[in-house]
Subunit: 127 residues, 3 copies
């Protein structure tokens, strides 16, 4: 069980963590890599890491699906972040082969921060 710490800088942020993950696991043994964020207002997802506009559109889409201001019951003012994190999910499982992460050409790994800025913890497991 390895660990990654990520400090986000804005309330909402698509933080590309691909390089940090690759650095952490390259050369290790296993056939599947599992990433798990131990929080309830951020999530993990895979998407394009070539054109930053893709993540801009994605963040805007999530804002449309769960607007920040909406008369929620939860009094902390971050219900939208809880909902968004349930739409992305809190873990990723990615193939791992010969000591290397197997991602598609356009795929990057993102920590989706929906209630930052905060320090986030990601637990990394190889099986």
């Amino acid at each position: 069980m390895l660990e990654l710490r990520v400090r986000t800088t804005r309330r909402t942020e698509a933080r590309d963590i691909t390089e940090e993950v690759v650095r952490l696991v390259t050369g290790k043994q296993g056939s599947l890599l599992h990433l798990f964020c131990t929080h309830t207002t951020c999530g993990l997802l895979i998407n394009e890491d070539a054109d930053p506009d893709v993540m801009k559109d994605l963040i805007e889409a999530f804002e449309g699906l769960a607007p920040r201001n909406h008369g929620y019951a939860h009094a902390e003012g971050n219900s939208d972040a809880h909902i968004k994190s349930s739409l992305t999910g809190h873990s990723l499982t990615i193939p791992f082969s010969e000591g290397r992460l197997v991602l598609g050409t356009w795929q990057g790994i993102y920590l989706m921060e929906f209630d930052g800025p905060r320090e986030r913890k990601i637990i990394v497991t190889l099986v």
Copy 2:
């Protein structure tokens, strides 16, 4: 391969199953825990289990994303439940270390019932 049976009590319900899962797996061997519900109108997700308003807001948000009544093609009257279950997903993978489930402070495991009340089966695998 272990099994958990959960009887839900309403059509839509966020049922906290954290304690049942912990009881089932604590002390066992493995480094990842996998939960899988064998249905198509309920799902599994992780979110806050401190303030119940979080799940109230989440259920309402899902109802907004896939309203129960909407002129669906599927004639059984539960298309919204199929859609909602695809938004949550049907499985969870969670780190497991030294015989214990590794969850964040605020994280709980929920069976999201969208077409109850029913008895639901969850297959539990440790690898």
Copy 3:
């Protein structure tokens, strides 16, 4: 690490790949099956494979959540597909027991094509 190639035939398509997956893995060793599509404009999900209207409703729901035309920033005209693939996710993990995939009675495995027609690659791992 096994591989499945799927050629989709329309821009948006719920392609049932259950049989192809079953053929590929039956008889093999492992306790969890992992499917991973190496793309950013298609996804994988589990849902009912009995009444085709379920997938018709699901596709329509996804179109409502991320409409094709919406003034997106990303200039390639497929931002909706990137968003939809983040809502479904790019991988599935399914229990595997005694050389067989463990699915519920009504569950099928779908490749959700959101920017086809294309040839799609799915990496299949058993652990």
